[in-house]
Every structure is written in structure tokens, then in C-alpha cells.
Amino acid sequence: MIRIQHEDFDPGAEIARLAADGAGAGGLCLFVGLVRDMAAGQPIAAMTLEHYPAMAERELARIEAEARSRWPLRAVAVIHRYGRLEPGDRIVLVATAADHRGHAFDACRFLIDWLKTRAPFWKKEETPAGEHWVAARTDDDETAAAWDKTRE
């Protein structure tokens, strides 16, 4: 299940849906990413997430399919917000239901790692020094690339 939306989401409702969709699973793993109030030592007043809608849909669907091909998952949820968000706001949710907890954890982490380096979203931060586009982090690429190595 993939959703791209400006509106906030309710993690409790998403867990309930994941448990229902993945009925029979032994474990649910969920990650929620939040807007931080500081970045690179600077206070953040807000950020705006721009995205490429058609490609974001395709990439998130691809990331979900990739996770399902790697681990036996009973349910997957990926939600990414766009637009203007403030510190403490939810940005992204990834969640998995699996029979075994190791699969749920690995797949959940894979989803967020891959999403961060492949899904076409871009953050612009508002700081006291003005607005700027956030630069991609090399270590995110390395984190995501490490998953490639786990694949034969």
C-alpha cells in the first residue's frame, strides 16, 4: 500500500490496517520519520517537500515490490507527505507485517533506506539564514547501496 499525500496520517490507524491486511503475521514493524527542529546546527522553522508525482508513485511501488521480493511479507505500507511541514510533523511512514520479526525489521529498514535515495522528493528548509534546498547525504547513498550487496 503506497500513498503520497499532503495531509497528515494517523500511525495508529495505519497499524490497525497493517494488522488487518497482514492477518496471521507474528510481528509488525513501523518507522515514522518526523521533521526535526534543528539541521546542521541551525534551527528549522519549517520545510517544504517538493515531489515529482508520477515518478514518486512509480518509485514507491517499485520499492514496495522490491521489499516483497526479498522478504516474505504479509503487508507493506508506505506513506510520504509533500508540501510545507513544521518541526514535529510526520513526513513518512513505512511499515511491514511478517511472520518473523527479523523479516519485518529488515524489510522496514530497507524500505526507508531505499526510499531516501530513490523516491523523487526534495526538501527545502526555512532557517533564520533563509531558505535552501537540502543537499543529499553521501552516507544515505552508502546505506542504501549496502542493500545492493546483500542481493546476489
Binding site: V32, G33, L34, V35, R36, A39, L49, E50, H51, Y52, A54, M55, R58, H80, I91, V92, I112, L115, K116, T117, R118, A119, P120, F121, W122, K123, K124, W133, V134, A135, A136, R137, D139, D140, D141
Partner: protein, 86 residues
């Protein structure tokens, strides 16, 4: 051919989307970049640092040697920064 720009490329080109008709010798994404760079100073600045530019053709990541067709949707954008913090 539809060309889309996101993030700093949109800021620098001053547009999010434009329809272009490059000459027939523009066959690849890389050749399109070179041709687009001549359209305006803003375009030239957008493509000044190609290490910070990614391309997609028809919503899929594409390399600079990807061959283009007249009905393709080509997008240019920086490396993505979605998800949460670090």
C-alpha cells in the same frame, strides 16, 4: 518533448515544465542537457554542475547516454532528499 525541472533546477530555469523541440542531432539525455543549457542563463546555471543533477525519462531514472524519443517526458532534478532526517 516535455521537460520537467524540480528543486534548484526549477528555481534556476525559472520554470517547472516546458515543451521543447530540439533539433534532430539531439539524440540523448546528455545532448539534451547541452542544448537546453543554451536556452537561457538560468538554464546554463541549472546544468552548471552535472554531478548534482539526476535525470529521469518517462518517470524512470536514466543515464546521460539514454536515447530519447519525441514523446518522452524528461525530468531533471538533484539527488533526492525525502524520507526523514538522517
Amino acid at each position: 518533448m516535455k521537460v520537467l525541472y524540480f528543486a534548484f533546477l526549477r528555481d534556476r530555469t525559472g520554470t517547472g515544465e516546458e515543451t521543447v523541440n530540439p533539433p534532430p542531432e539531439v539524440r540523448t539525455v546528455g545532448e539534451l542537457v547541452a542544448w537546453l543549457s543554451t536556452r537561457s542563463q538560468g538554464h546554463a546555471r541549472a546544468f552548471a554542475e552535472m554531478a548534482a543533477v539526476r535525470a529521469a525519462v518517462n518517470q524512470e531514472y536514466a543515464r546521460m547516454d539514454r536515447v530519447l524519443g519525441p514523446d518522452d517526458e524528461v525530468a531533471f532534478f538533484p539527488p533526492v532528499t525525502g524520507g526523514s532526517g538522517r
